[in-house]
């Protein structure tokens, strides 16, 4: 039996079904991402696990116990909020110590564990500062330390990196992954950023309109999307003859689907092409290996491996959909 089990979890707001019978098992120590566009029910799911939102139906079991019967304050989960929700009137150390204080941990032990956790997130030197004296990335680490110090059974991350700029976000992704590996806490991440979900997770739950469209390892969900929605949400994709083909799988060949290069964009390590074919626009990504590449207006032929795993949903014509 899984460590955390969501069983037919449902939440209805008025007539709107925010979460529609979601079932999911999470193993101990696993890093699972709930990925989807805004309004897909991922945050509502997280809030039901945290206890801030009461489910309309279904069950949540943690180690076989009914989690819904436990008050939010007694669930012992670590949560990192999108806004961090740090206590502005407390220093970094006081923020981190708050959860331990609530658990009745003795002062000496508290100081030791706060120091340990601040070391883990690399903020030992900032323990006396107030949150507003820290940068966004540092505040994010304080929020993480505050959630981890209570040794939570589950760490819940609600879009924790979305307020950081792109470069810092990438750094924090790597760091978050390392910290999670170090402490081994079962983690559930809510995000709309497919790159973030793929970079961090053991498994991804792609959600759409309150339902899980696909649950699986990032690589599998990317290579074998179960539905056209998953295919389009996880990266760019082409649907050719009802088959989803990733842009990087298509190559220029002597024969194959004929077309003409409409635009060519240089992106450093690769070229991004849009090729007009009889079946519509096709996106092609080619590695920048230093070779001479077709330019705009060139007539080309496109080929792709026919044995690619696919998800057919009866699309007949070629179309290009771009993921976010």
């Amino acid at each position: 039996m899984s460590f955390l089990i969501l069983e037919k979890l449902t939440k209805r707001f008025g007539t709107h079904l925010a979460v529609d019978g979601l079932s999911l098992g999470v193993e101990k120590g696993e890093f699972v991402s709930l990925l989807g566009p805004s309004g897909c029910g991922k945050t509502t799911t997280l809030q039901m696990i945290a206890g801030f939102v009461e489910p309309t139906g279904g069950a949540i079991m943690l180690e076989g116990r009914d989690l819904l019967a436990v008050k939010p304050a007694r669930r012992g989960l670590g949560i990192v909020f999108q806004s961090y929700a740090l206590f502005p009137h407390m220093t970094v150390a006081e923020n981190v110590a708050f959860g331990l204080e609530m658990q009745g941990v003795a002062a000496a032990e508290r100081t030791r564990r706060v120091g340990e956790t601040l070391d883990l997130v690399g903020l030992a030197a900032f323990s006396g500062r107030f949150p507003r004296q820290l940068s966004g990335g540092q505040q994010q680490r304080v929020a993480l330390a505050r959630a981890l110090v209570i040794r939570p059974q589950i760490l819940l991350l609600d879009e924790p990196l979305s307020n950081l700029d792109a470069k810092l976000r990438e750094e924090m992704q790597i760091e978050l992954r390392q910290i999670q590996r170090t402490v081994g806490t079962t983690t559930i991440l809510v995000t709309h950023d497919q790159a973030e979900a793929m970079a961090l997770s053991d498994r991804i739950v792609v959600m759409n309109q309150g339902r899980a469209e696909q649950v699986g390892p990032p690589h599998e969900a990317y290579e074998r999307p179960a539905t056209p929605f998953v295919a389009s949400f996880l990266g760019k994709t082409n649907i050719l003859d009802g088959v989803t083909v990733r842009p990087e799988k298509i190559s220029f060949a002597p024969g194959g689907l004929a077309g003409r290069v409409r635009t060519r964009i240089f992106q450093g390590n690769h070229w991004l092409y849009q090729v007009e074919t009889t079946g519509g626009l096709v996106t092609v990504i080619r590695q920048n290996s230093g070779e001479v590449m077709p330019t705009e207006g060139d007539a080309v032929h496109l080929a792709w491996p026919s044995s690619l795993p696919h998800a057919s949903r009866g699309e007949v014509s070629a179309q290009r959909t771009e993921g976010s």
Partner: protein, 306 residues
């Protein structure tokens, strides 16, 4: 084209303000001059005249004599009659402030958590006292609690809950209650403004860390709205200490406060210089208290909230 340009700008480089305005530096002052003049005429000049007046002499038969003496100030600062009145004024203001904080802060918290349309309805209820004339509102209190014929007193007596009517008119308690009633909105609005700056997730964050509802309020919400409570308290204290109509109706001439005392000196005794000394002293005391308190608040919370 060039003629027009020349006519408008005969000497200086383009972009310069016309010299009639005295250059860039003076323009802002000139533009705010009308407002400054109005302020000077209706505030500074009368205030200065009141201060001067407080140093003049007065006699029953000779009237006001424009001399410079310290008689009025000595009287106001040493006579126990006046000291008692000032002490009463600030005691009442302090009780009113504490009362509005005790009721107003929770009121604001509840209001903040309400959903529309209830929030709008109850905001109106809270602002209600401000919309009613101070005289009508205070007479309402008098009708409820005034003597034997007061509605509440009559009801309580007939139910056998009290043997004598609750004293309200001509008591400090009555003044405190009536003033707290009308000044409550200032406290509620000040605290509400502070609550709206709160991160909506912050209470959830504390709950997730194991804090109970009371702990969340005491350790997380209260410290963050404290600047709001304190700024509300400064407003309420100043308004309560300088209030005139409510103390005049409820306290009458038996229980005078600084404002009603100044009024009596001006219009009944006709001792304007003494009234001026009382008014100026009240103003100075209030300014010192308000500025001191807000300095304290700023210094205490600058680091945290900025």
């Amino acid at each position: 084209m060039s003629i027009i340009a020349q006519r408008h700008d005969p000497s200086g480089p383009p972009g310069h303000l016309p010299t009639a305005w005295g250059g860039k530096g003076l323009a802002p002052y000139l533009l705010s001059l009308p407002a400054l003049l109005l302020f000077a005429v209706v505030v500074i000049v009368p205030l200065g005249m009141t201060v001067l007046l407080s140093f003049h002499d007065w006699g029953q038969y000779k009237g006001i004599e424009p001399v410079f003496i310290l008689k009025n100030w000595r009287e106001v600062l040493t006579d126990s009659y006046y000291l008692e009145m000032f002490w009463r004024t600030f005691r009442i203001a302090l009780f009113v402030t504490v009362l509005t904080a005790l009721f107003g802060a929770p009121e604001a918290y509840i209001l903040n958590r309400m959903k529309s349309p209830w929030r709008g309805i109850f905001l109106l209820v809270i602002l209600g006292p401000l919309l009613i004339s101070v005289v009508a509102r205070t007479l309402g209190w008098a009708l409820l609690f005034g003597g034997n014929s007061g509605l509440v007193n009559k009801a309580l007596t007939s139910m056998g809950l009290i043997s004598a009517p609750l004293p309200f008119m001509f008591t400090e308690t009555g003044m405190v209650v009536a003033l707290a009633h009308v000044l409550m909105p200032y406290m509620v609005l000040a605290v509400w403004a502070a609550l709206q700056r709160l991160d909506p997730q912050i209470e959830n964050a504390a709950v997730a860390l194991g804090a109970g509802q009371f702990t969340v309020l005491r350790r997380i919400v209260l410290p963050q709205v404290m600047p709001g409570i304190l700024s509300g308290a400064i407003i309420v204290f100043a308004l309560a200490a300088s209030a005139f109509a409510t103390p005049a109706i409820i306290g009458g001439r038996r229980l005078k406060v600084a404002a009603t005392l100044a009024y009596d000196e001006f219009l009944n005794t006709l001792n304007w210089p003494l009234g001026a000394a009382v008014a100026v002293l009240l103003l100075v005391a209030l300014v010192v208290i308000a500025v001191g308190a807000s300095r304290l608040v700023e210094r205490r919370y600058a680091q945290v909230f900025g």
